[in-house]
């Protein structure tokens, strides 16, 4: 007597898919629909996160250097600023360079063109690594000796952080809800299949089948349905994503918002879809079969 018959379980799982073809098709469609919705939200979240990361990289604050500081002292200050935790990059801007930038921005006819250089101060442009610690970093830097003043758009930085956290939280909540819905639907679909085979299950139990022996073919069936759904959903998701990218390009919106190339993320998407599809399929089947094992 053999204890574990893997070949039999796989064969029964396959046979069951085809012998309940319509229900299997319905289950695969449900998995595809749920994965596409989950995948679309995840891709939106990934792209928003990517955009925010790019915006974060452009985020910086200015530190005005005490006018009494010599060039050597400015160099020392720069070094101290660099050593502050969370500082990614420090750039020294002379008052002349600052004025040139202002003139470049507002034109030669404006107030800045006739303004003497001495009105402005030498400054350091400081870029942070983690935007969530922006305010804390500004406070540390402005407390350093030689810092006369500073200008930091803390509200903008905090806005970025809030936006990113909100998008991430929303994506997690939606993914959680959709995963639960998928599980419920798959479980009900498999329960129908199990219901149509309840007589077989009862006979198996009376013949002395263990719960595991009865459950495994259903789990294999759930796994196969999950994998089929995941593969179908992956190609559909690819098509949808490519269509959205084309639409954005045609509308000229890419100047504001650029989507990541699908080829950069396809392996991650496929892995997540396969994992989610398999887990949803197997868990759904396990939940569905439990009731019928109580004989």
């Amino acid at each position: 007597m053999r204890k574990f018959n893997l070949g039999y379980f796989i064969k029964e799982g396959f046979v069951s898919i085809f012998s309940h073809g319509l229900m299997s098709f319905a289950a695969v469609c449900m998995i595809v629909a749920c994965l596409i919705i989950m995948g679309s939200f995840s891709l939106l979240a990934i792209n928003v996160d990517e955009q925010l990361k790019q915006l974060e990289e452009e985020n910086e604050f200015l530190v005005y250097v005490d006018e009494s500081f010599s060039f050597q002292q400015v160099q020392q200050l720069m070094e101290r600023v660099r050593q502050v935790d969370n500082v990614a990059e420090v750039e020294f801007i002379t008052k002349q360079e600052a004025k040139a930038a202002l003139v470049g921005k507002y034109g030669n006819n404006g107030l800045y063109a006739t303004m003497p250089d001495e009105v402005l101060r030498d400054r350091l442009s400081v870029r942070v690594a983690d935007l969530e610690r922006f305010t804390e970093t500004v406070d540390t830097v402005r407390a350093l000796p030689g810092v006369a003043n500073y200008r930091a758009e803390s509200e903008v930085a905090e806005g970025f952080v809030t936006a990113r956290n909100a998008v991430t939280a929303l994506a997690y909540v939606l993914i959680g809800i959709l995963a639960a819905v998928s599980l419920f639907i798959i479980s009900n679909t498999t329960r129908l299949a199990a219901f149509s085979r309840r007589e077989e299950i009862a006979i198996m139990k009376m013949c002395g089948a263990t719960d595991g022996f009865i459950r495994w073919p259903f789990i294999v069936e759930g796994l196969l349905l999950g994998v089929m759904g995941a593969v179908a959903a992956f190609f559909l998701q690819w098509g949808v994503y490519a269509a959205v990218c084309r639409a954005l390009t045609n509308s000229g919106a890419t100047a504001l918002f650029t989507l990541m190339d699908f080829r950069e993320i396809w392996t991650r998407v496929l892995q997540v879809f396969l994992l989610a599809g398999s887990v949803i399929g197997m868990l759904g089947s396990s939940f569905a079969i439990r009731k019928f094992l109580q004989v």
Binding site: M1, E199, A202, I203, M204, G208, A209, F213
Partner: protein, 226 residues
């Protein structure tokens, strides 16, 4: 071997199905369990197959104490039993061979064991040559023979037949009962739950009669009046 010691069974809805049943069936015996509808016969079968548990008293089946049997032990206990139902309970989309393979596969039998055992059992029940027939292509008597073959195929110590002739005409019923007697003669303990008074009276076997959940008779042979 079966032992029921002062067994009571009360269902959740308050129905008292059994009241102090004491019964001992030794290995190799042939016992008829008789009684009118609602007397508690089916409850005894459910107790013996561990579908329900006793509210009070002890139930021992083939060495398993069903009062404190663990869930994982129940399949192993059931493998010592062969169960035959009134409505045959065959899988219609499987052939006769397929139904027997299904029962053997359930307990982990290999293809080699199946090839060896199934022809022997089919020959024993008189269905040699019917391997490829589907249940719907067989008569009621033949379907019950398939059910008997399925019960026998895993070589159980005991067969519990729950109204095995309930769906059959008198001639087929006699054939089936004769077959069960033959199987018993080969050493398998037989507990036959039945309404069929004529059959019980025709076979001189031990008869246990219950009524309203109580045992009213336990004797060898003799005339039984429901």
């Amino acid at each position: 071997m079966i032992r029921l010691i002062d067994v009571h069974k009360e269902y959740d809805n308050g129905t008292k199905a059994l009241r102090g049943i004491n019964l001992r069936i030794e290995d190799g015996e042939f016992v008829f369990l008789v009684g009118p509808s609602g007397s508690g016969k089916s409850t005894i079968v459910k107790l013996l197959t561990a579908e329900v548990t006793a509210s009070q008293g002890r139930v021992i089946v083939n060495g398993y104490n069903l009062n404190n049997i663990r869930r994982w032990q129940i399949p192993h206990m059931r493998r010592t039993l062969g169960i035959i139902f009134q409505d045959f309970r065959l899988i219609e989309k499987k052939t006769v061979q397929g139904n027997l393979e299904f029962a053997m596969r359930t307990v982990g039998a290999s293809s080699r064991e199946m090839r060896k055992r199934i022809p022997y059992v089919l020959d024993l029940v008189g269905l040699d040559g019917k391997e490829d027939a589907f249940p719907t292509e067989l008569s009621g008597g033949e379907q019950q023979r398939v059910a008997i073959a399925r019960a026998l195929v895993n070589n159980p110590k005991m067969i519990i037949a729950d109204e095995p002739t309930g769906n059959l005409d008198p001639r087929r019923s006699l054939e089936i009962m004769t077959l069960l007697e033959r199987i018993n003669a080969m050493g398998t303990t037989m507990l036959v739950v039945t309404h069929a008074r004529e059959l019980v009276n025709r076979f001189s076997k031990r008869v246990v009669a219950i009524k309203d959940g109580e045992m009213i008779r336990d004797g060898q042979g003799g005339y039984y009046r429901a």
